[in-house]
Each structure stands twice: as structure tokens, then as C-alpha cells.
Subunit: 195 residues, 4 copies
């Protein structure tokens, strides 16, 4: 099992997910600025999902570059993560085209939740492969409070979709911002080890 | 002939096949959960095909990482496999949009069969290049009972499409599950050899 | 942080942006040469955008191959650049389908401007990481008059979209030509250093 | 200039071209085999173009792996080739949807011709960079009779599109078959050199 090819394949899928999302931004009808207005919610949901896919790419990148051991048992947890992420474009488009209607917000939250759980499972598989809870990878991941908090927030978002739709949207944006703040844990921890 | 570039190109094509399949999941019309219901068969067929493409990626990955010798004669058997796999998205979409109608199940089976045969030809080409039947690659592949059984099942699936459509679907799911069970043969065999 | 994976991911996204632009070139209705005529503006805008994405790929390639130090703080500036570039296909299609109408020219200019600013920020981040203004990377980038001039031209293009649309188009073409002239600075400068 | 990244980017673009062609194979309307019949010409044109893109990938692969020297002056000839190849999907779809009508056959020929000329220019640039006509790369390429003959055939195909459409189609198929016959020149020549 070569880590390189797993990374290359995941990069390929993530790059395509990131890029086909823009296909939901259909060429507007009409040649004036007014023709752009109906695109605004689709555009905003695109920005949010672009950030989420970017966050997953960054985290995936850091996680795999911290892992020294890898084997065939990682392939399916990795594909499982890519499966959930592959649903982001269509649910982004659905949310944008329907102006963040309750059901679309809830489904978006479910897909974020599924992605977070899949990432958690992949991370656990890699920690188990790399010496368990006391080994460098486990220490690099640390207490992972962001990873543990995010699913709770997604559940709150899903629950509030039907009561306070704007709150659901705000929660999804907040979680993205939480991750955007650079996470130097793994890099710092890695720097302390000999390469 | 560098194995790296063959792998990178195949990874690219497989990543795109995996990802464009999701384009068949069209953004639903309507903003309620009820709007999702017509998508269910398309979604189920997407899950099945995602698993199949994942299986091919895993097997292709293992096969190529076990092969030490490679040359230009591998390029077309590899492209032949990618050709069959490239037909999976459209036949998945056709099957899903028509609620697994007999003809769509049969065509899906034909494409799975074509892919299996193409994989078999690629594997044989690589075994021949890597010392034949007694060499490490041949031993790593082993008796390959899954590879030999699958086409028989696909034929059964195609045949039953018109008599018992649900059986055809069940067969395709069963073959996927058969492969999902991790196949440690090649990894074990490779581990026994010096890298 | 491995430069290779950052490059591979960026290459993936750029390759997809380059290629999905051609999806805006819809299969013409009718089977005569006359059926191609309505495609001409879409085709011309495709050529222009292809050249722009090609320029960004070249520059990105040179910039990253000149950088010796890289870390996690580069990931978001890089994704920010890819975000702006990902908007090129839809704005190209809008411009082409509306025969270079004023608003479409202005929006195209805004996206070129955003891309240029994002590239500038990425370049600055990399220079800061690589020893600052006196280090080899800063010298390789040099005074970067093209990079400083382009945003000015884009602003001129945006401004003239509503007054003299043809001038806006001419400016975008001129900036592309400016960059097409091979830029040997970085390569020359790199050649002077030991690898 | 690192050859790896040029190859990776080209592989990415070629993989996407190969795969988005299948998007022209629209999900058929209707759930019977009869619904597949209208797809037949689109399918046949897809097979032909798949083979052509495969040939270009193979040749590009061989050419670049034979080249030892590479620099920035190769980037645009390479992008120029990718530009022509990127037009293959839309012209394939046009040809297929219009049952190989004269104008569509002629345009397909023009794009094959443009690709062949672009490949020739790239090859010349690489030969000049790698020691000129007496150096290993030039000897590896050899007299390149296939490369010189193909444009002549494409011109014949274009010319006959309006007189004998079937002949144009036959010529395009024949040129593809000509290239499918494995071309061992470069590999043989390379094997004779020390790696």
C-alpha cells in the first residue's frame, strides 16, 4: 500500500468535487447585473461548500502526512469519506436554488454530519494502525475538540432547520469559521519529531 | 514506461468516473423532503456504482503495486478497462431513472461483465510480463476465485433481468458485497517478499 | 507540509477548470456549418479563458517550484486563488452567450481582478516564508511589473465595460498577450542558483 | 521546470477529456432496449474519440518519458495540444447526434488535424531542446512516418466529407487503427540506452 497513490486519488476526487460544484452556478439568463441576482443564494451556498471541501482537503492532507503506517484497511474508510463529500455538490445546489428552505438546510446538515463521522472513522483507523493512543499520530491529533464538537453543532443545525432556519445556516457558517482558524497542532507536533 | 504515470492517469480517470456519477443525482425540484423521494432509486444505483468503482480502484491499485515489470503493452488493456468503467455512470443513471427496469438491469450487467473481462485481460497481461504463472505476481493474484466467479454471476444477473428483475439487482449487490470483504491475499503475499 | 501534494491538488483543480469550460461549448443544434455560427462568441471567450487559465498554471508552477519552504499557512491563500479561478468557466459562458454584453465584460474583469489579487497574496505569503525580500524567491519574482500592472488594466477594463465595451475586451486580450510573452526571469534566476 | 508536474497536469486534462466525453452519452429516454438505438451513433463516435484520446495519451507519455531536457518553452506547445484535444468531446457529440453529417465529419477532421499539428510542434520543440536531430530523442522518434502521414489523411477526410461522407469516417477509423498497432520504436530505442 503506497500512501502516495491514496493521496493522489483522494486529491483527484476532492479536486473534482470542488470544481463540479461550480457547475451548479448555471450561466444566468439575461445580460444585465439584474440577471445575477437569482444566482446570489446559489453563489453563497457555493462559497460555504467550497470552504468545507477546502477544510476537508486540508485536514485530510495533514492527517495522512502525519500517518506513517498505512494499509489496505484504510481504503474503504477513505472511500466512505469521499462518498459523503461527493454528495455536497448536489445538496449545495438544492439548498441554493431553494433559498435555504428548511428541508434543504436539514439535508445539508445530514451530509456534513455524515462527512464528519466518516472522517472520524478514518482518523481512528489510522491512529489504530499507527501505534494507538500513545503514538505520535494520536498525540498529533490530540484531543481533537473541533472534531468532537462539530457533529454536535451539525445535529443542532439539523434540529433547528425547521424551527429557526437562519440559525441552522448560522451554525454551518460558524463551524466552517471554527475550522478556518489555522490549526497548528499537528504541524507543531510533527515539527518536534525527526522527519 | 513508468508505472507512476500509468497509475496517476488511471487514478484520474477513476476519480472522475466516481465523481461525475453524482451529476446524475440532479438537484430535486421542490424544497420539501417529498422532493427527494423520486431521487431514491437514482441514489441507490449511485451507491451501488460507487462501491463498484471503489472496488475496481482498490483492485487496480493492488494489482499494479504488485507488478514490478510494466511496458507499453499494458497501456491498451488498461485503457480498455477504463473504457468499460467509463460507461458505468450513464448506465447507472439509466437504471436509476427507470426504477431498475429489466432492460436497464441487463445493460448494467453487460457493463459490469465487460469491466470484469477487461480487468481479467489486464491482469493476465501483467502476469505474463512479470514472470508468468510461478512468479510472485501470479502467486499474489492466486486462484482468483472472486475474479472467476463474478462474470458467471453477472451472466446470471443479465439472464434473470427479464424473468426476475429483483434477482438481477440482488446478484449485482451480492457480487459487490463479495468484493467488499477485504481481500488480504495480495497484501499478505507481498509482505512476505522483500520490498 | 509536502509541496508535491499541494501542487498535485492545484494541478487537479486547474486541469478540471480548463476542461469543464469546454462544457459551455454546447453541441450545436443543426448539422450544417451555419449551426456553428452562434457558437463563435462562446468559442472566442473559451479561447481567451483557456489562455488565462494556462497563464495561471504556468505562473503557479514557476512560483511553487521556486519556493523551497512551504507550510500550512499557504493552503488557504492557494485555495483562495483556486476559488477565483473556479469562477472563470461560468463567467466565460455568460460573456460568450451574451455576445460580450457590458455587464458580462465587467463581471469577467472582476473575476480576473480577484484572481490577480489572490495570486499576489499567495506570492507574498510564499516570499515571506522563503526568507523575505532579499532571499532567492523574492529575487526570482523580481519587481513583478506584470503582476502589478495587470490589476490596473483589469480595473480599466471593468470601468470601460459600460462606456466602450470593445475596449474592455481588447484590454483583457492585451493582458493575456502580455503574459504569453515568455517570462524567463524566474527560470534565469533559478538557473544561476545551485539546485 | 519539473517534468513530473507537466506530465501530471497533462494527465489530468487528458483524463478529464476522456471522461467528460461520456457525458455526451445522455441517459436514454425510455426503459427498453429500443431506447438505446438513437444512442448508437453517439456511442460509436465516443468509441472512436476514446481511442484517439488514448493514442494521444500513449504518444505523449512516450514522448515525454524519452525527453531528458525540458524547460518553460515547452509549456505553451503542450497547452496548445491540450487545447485542440479539449475540443474533441464537443465535436464528437456533434458528429454523433447528427449521424455523421458532412459538416460534422469535416469539423471533426479539422480538430484531429489541429491536434496532429500541435503534437508535431511539441515534438519538434522537445527534439530541439534535447540535442537536435542526432540526439537520442530524435533517433527515438525516428522518421515518424505515422506522424507525417496522419495529417495528409485528415486532409483527405475533410475533403471527402462533402463528397463521400462514409469515406471520411472510414479514413478517421483507419488512422486510429494505424496508431493502435503498437509502436515499439521509442521503447526499443530507449531500451538500448542506459537509463
Amino acid at each position: 500500500m503506497h500512501k502516495t497513490r491514496l493521496e493522489a486519488f483522494s486529491d483527484g476526487v476532492l479536486a473534482i468535487i470542488l470544481t463540479i460544484m461550480v457547475l451548479e452556478l448555471k450561466v444566468p439568463h439575461g445580460d444585465s447585473f439584474a440577471a445575477l441576482r437569482p444566482l446570489l443564494p446559489v453563489f453563497l451556498s457555493y462559497v460555504l461548500s467550497f470552504v468545507y471541501v477546502g477544510i476537508y482537503w486540508n485536514n485530510h492532507h495533514h492527517l495522512l502526512s502525519s500517518a506513517r503506517q498505512i494499509n489496505g484497511s484504510v481504503l474503504w474508510p477513505n472511500l466512505h469519506l469521499l462518498f459523503w463529500l461527493s454528495l455536497i455538490p448536489v445538496s449545495t445546489g438544492w439548498m441554493g436554488e431553494n433559498h435555504f428552505a428548511p428541508a434543504t438546510l436539514a439535508v445539508y446538515g445530514v451530509i456534513l454530519l455524515g462527512s464528519a463521522v466518516a472522517y472520524f472513522l478514518l482518523q481512528n483507523r489510522l491512529i489504530a494502525l499507527n501505534g494507538g493512543d500513545d503514538a505520535p499520530l494520536a498525540r498529533a491529533v490530540g484531543r481533537d475538540w473541533k472534531g468532537k464538537l462539530s457533529p454536535v453543532f451539525y445535529l443542532l443545525g439539523i434540529a433547528s432547520s425547521f424551527v429557526l432556519p437562519w440559525l441552522a445556516g448560522a451554525i454551518y457558517v460558524a463551524v466552517a469559521l471554527l475550522w478556518l482558524v489555522p490549526d497548528r497542532r499537528i504541524e507543531r507536533s510533527l515539527r518536534a519529531q525527526p522527519e
